[in-house]
């Protein structure tokens, strides 16, 4: 792949990226969230079309217009979210869409199963081709996808974060399998954050950063630290300014927080009144999940939350709200706003009791508080009666913020607060967060944007696979430390999560 470029509305995903894959080679593709790894592979897999650049296979230039084209060229893509049909059996999944027919035009089931068995053997899988997929573990389901790729005589198999749902043993088995496939002449593109696995199997490591090539390492040099330094390498101008406002450490304590996604992990941390505590980590680290458990949105999650020495018992979102703990969720259109309602209706939704007497809402009082928020947050809207759907992303986010700000938050949790928002609005939201903290609130900010995490947070807690791997004081906040903690490598500078 040479000079590949790809834009999406508002963002350049790939800029002049080149990649070579040799036959029978295991190539690891690494990079931060948003670096462009998945996008690049989706172009190879025919899911996206490049805006620039060319692809050639065996020296011949090729056009990959859709998934079928890429399959014909021998590319198989095993996505992070498996594409198996769990209401069918193994053989049916492997031959989906290409079922051999008999003379009557009906599916030749005997042949389907007969052709699947050798594939399963080749993978060392001890399961019958008649096993229904929903009876298999995720690891085995993944193997079935690999069998499908092999049945297509794939020459390149792309694996996107294949071990994120596997146990240690299953991971070892998969890595063995990758090496076996390599022996058989199949090339593997291995997208992963798990650098220890990458060190183990990769012949070469290609690193992408901000949609561009950031470097390539041969096996001998592909060590953890070098890969990390290539992943983060850019200069982040530090625009952090410490705030002079007083902070009360230990004001907000969270103990034994468990989310339904990582039920075996317990999260503990403290946050000071007046501080912005950043939560960094890779996608899937469990940050959003633990925060939802803290505010009662996870029926199978739990947490012991203390504010100013008093425990806040939280079983449902209304309890959290009652204690002044508010969440600005990740997906503002699906979770943060009722997009068909107006600015006014959204702003007052959680606090309607304050604007009503005898259960009847007073539009006057609603309008008053809405106008206050529009003014103080500088929300660009024709008025309070505008339907929120018609506002830009940044202004929609301000409406979400205004909703909570009108209720004097004690603890404000923001999940990816500036995702999809232009630079100007971003700065305003950061300013708001700082103001809120200075006035005595606790701010927890989940962010996958390294620059944001480093420039806005007073301290940074980093999560990895459901637990906090370390908390960095201001002085130790730099990209390498954050990235190392994010991939699970412990570092000396990281403080333990709880003091005392």
């Amino acid at each position: 792949m040479r000079g590949i470029g790809k834009r999406f509305p508002g963002v350049i995903a790939l800029d002049n990226v080149s990649l070579e894959i040799g036959q029978g080679e295991v190539l690891a593709l690494c990079g931060e969230n948003g670096a462009g790894k998945s996008t690049l592979m989706k172009i190879l897999g025919g899911v996206y079309q490049p805006d620039a650049g060319e692809i050639s296979v065996d020296g011949k230039p090729e056009k990959i217009n859709d998934v079928n084209d890429s399959m014909r060229l021998g590319v198989a893509f095993i996505h992070q979210e498996l594409n198996v049909l769990d209401n069918l059996d193994v053989a049916a999944n492997v031959f989906l869409g290409r079922e051999p027919r008999n003379a009557l035009g009906l599916i030749d089931f005997k042949k389907v199963h007969a052709d699947t068995e050798p594939l399963l053997k080749r993978l060392g899988l001890d399961i019958s081709s008649r096993t229904p997929l929903d009876k298999l573990s995720i690891a085995h389901q993944q193997m079935v996808e690999i069998a499908k790729a092999l049945s297509l005589n794939s020459r390149i198999i792309i694996m996107d974060e294949p071990t994120s749902s596997l146990t240690l043993q299953e991971t070892d088995r998969l890595l063995e399998l990758v090496l076996e496939l390599k022996q058989q002449g199949v090339s593997i593109v291995y997208i992963s954050h798990r650098l220890s696995e990458v060190e183990h199997i990769a012949d070469r490591v290609v690193v992408l950063r901000d949609g561009k090539n950031a470097g390539e390492l041969p096996k001998a040099e592909a060590k953890h630290d070098r890969i990390v330094s290539l992943m983060v390498g850019r200069e982040i101008k530090s625009t952090y300014t410490a705030s002079a406002a007083p902070k009360t450490p230990g004001y907000f304590k969270v103990r034994n927080a468990i989310s339904s996604r990582y039920p075996a992990m317990q999260v503990n941390f403290d946050a000071a009144r007046g501080e912005i505590l950043g939560f960094a980590g890779l996608v899937g680290a469990g940050r959003s999940e633990i925060v939802k458990a803290m505010v009662g949105l996870d029926p199978r999650g739990s947490a012991v939350v203390t504010i100013g020495g008093e425990q806040a018992v939280i079983h449902a979102p209304a309890d959290a709200i009652g204690h002044g703990i508010y969440l600005v969720p990740e997906d503002r259109r699906a979770e943060g706003l009722v997009t068909a309602m107006t600015v006014r209706e959204n702003t007052t939704l959680p606090s309607l009791k304050n604007y009503s007497s005898l259960f009847l809402i007073s539009r006057e009082r609603e309008r008053k508080v809405t106008n206050e928020q529009i003014a103080s947050l500088k929300i660009k809207t024709p008025g309070g009666e505008t339907v929120v759907l018609n506002l830009s992303g940044g202004n929609q986010q301000k409406v979400v913020l205004g909703k909570w700000l009108s209720m004097s938050p004690k603890v404000m949790i923001l999940d990816e607060p500036t995702r999809g928002i232009d630079v100007g609005a971003k700065a305003e939201i950061y300013r708001l967060m700082r103001e809120l903290a200075d006035r005595g609130a606790v701010i927890l900010m989940i962010s996958s944007d390294m620059e944001e995490v480093l420039n806005v947070s007073d301290r940074v807690a980093v999560m990895h696979e459901g637990r906090i791997t370390g908390v960095l004081e201001r002085a130790d906040c730099n990209e390498e430390n954050v990235m190392n903690l994010a991939v699970g490598k412990p570092i000396a500078a990281a403080k333990p999560t709880v003091n005392n």
Partner: protein, 323 residues
């Protein structure tokens, strides 16, 4: 205070046009007897349409209305005629049953997480069966009932020259209007129907809100059941109330309730009901074959929803261009 929105105005005009056309073609439309009957029917059908409208706003649906009317009608008739209960007790029994059944619907939808279509479809089948069983498939009436004159005049008499069902509809509609458009509960209903997740994230007890909509619908169906029983004066368990749910849903949809939830207006539901009743009247008075009754209704509802969809798409396009 904006009382009438564009959509409601639209169907109101349509209603006036239909009345005008019918009256023009057949002046009997304006006769006291015909108008009185039409208004009466609007009242009868409107009460349960309000209920089903509420449920539709939460994003659900209620298919059991007709069968519930049959069941309540049968029980009312038997309680008054055969078990000789006093009428307040009989009315209380019937309302208690319908509220409970509504609550059961709500329970299955919110706790067992079953789809409203399925839950109320089963209701449709079960209540009809129970009604037929209790009545041994015999048509029940009020001829053997005593001391029901008060009830009869409450259910089918006149107040200020208007049929009681219509008066009851007006009263209920006014209450519902305040509830839906001015109360906290109404705001929660609209939010939950539109985006249950976001409502939950804002601390609303979405389960309670949805379940209560079904319970209220049950109550309103019970009230309708009593009124309709006295209108028909006899209850045939096998076909009393047949298809009423479709009238209710059609009226709600015509009146602006989107089946996707989160949208609806009380005035719209009332006008929608009126539209359907007048349409039926139109078919009768204009000599159109009565077998086409449902066809005409279906066509009008389809056109109405189509027109609404086109307006929405045009409005959305305009907004995208402005943004």
């Amino acid at each position: 205070m904006r009382l009438v929105a564009k959509k409601e105005f639209g169907i109101f005009i349509l209603l006036l046009v239909l009345c005008g056309v019918t009256g023009f073609k057949n002046p009997r439309f304006f006769s006291g007897a015909n108008l009185g009957n039409t208004v009466n029917l609007i009242g009868l059908f409107g009460v349960f349409s309000l209920g089903v409208g509420l449920v539709i706003i939460t994003g659900g649906i209620d298919l059991s209305i007709g069968s519930m009317c049959a069941l309540t009608g049968v029980i009312l008739a038997m309680a008054l005629s055969e078990w000789h209960w006093s009428w307040p007790l009989a009315v209380l029994l019937v309302l208690a049953i319908s509220v409970t059944l509504g609550w059961v619907h709500g329970f299955f939808v919110t706790r067992a997480k079953l789809q409203p279509f399925i839950v109320t479809l089963c209701g449709l089948l079960i209540y009809r069966g129970v009604a037929r069983f209790i009545a041994h498939d015999v048509t029940k009436g009020f001829s053997d009932a005593t001391g029901i004159d008060t009830l009869r005049s409450l259910a089918s008499g006149k107040l200020w020259g208007l049929p009681m069902p219509f008066v009851i509809l007006l009263v209920l509609a006014i209450i519902m209007w305040f509830v839906l458009h001015r109360s906290i509960y109404g705001r929660y209903l609209l939010a939950v129907g539109r985006n249950e997740q976001a409502a939950r994230f804002s601390g609303i007890n979405t389960r309670l809100v949805i379940a209560s909509a079904y319970t209220i619908a049950g109550l309103l169906t019970g009230v309708s059941g009593i009124l309709i029983a006295f209108y028909t004066n006899s209850v045939s368990p096998s076909n009393h109330g047949n298809f009423y749910e479709l009238y209710g849903i059609a009226a709600a949809v015509l009146g602006g309730c989107s089946l996707r939830g989160g949208e609806g207006s009380v005035i719209g539901i009332v006008i929608g009901t009126a539209l359907l009743i007048v349409l039926q009247n139109l078919v009768n008075l204009l000599g159109i074959d009565s077998s086409l009754n449902f066809a005409v209704m279906g066509a009008v509802v389809l056109l109405g929803v189509l027109a609404d969809q086109m307006f929405k798409t045009r409005a959305a396009k305009k907004n995208v261009r402005q943004a």
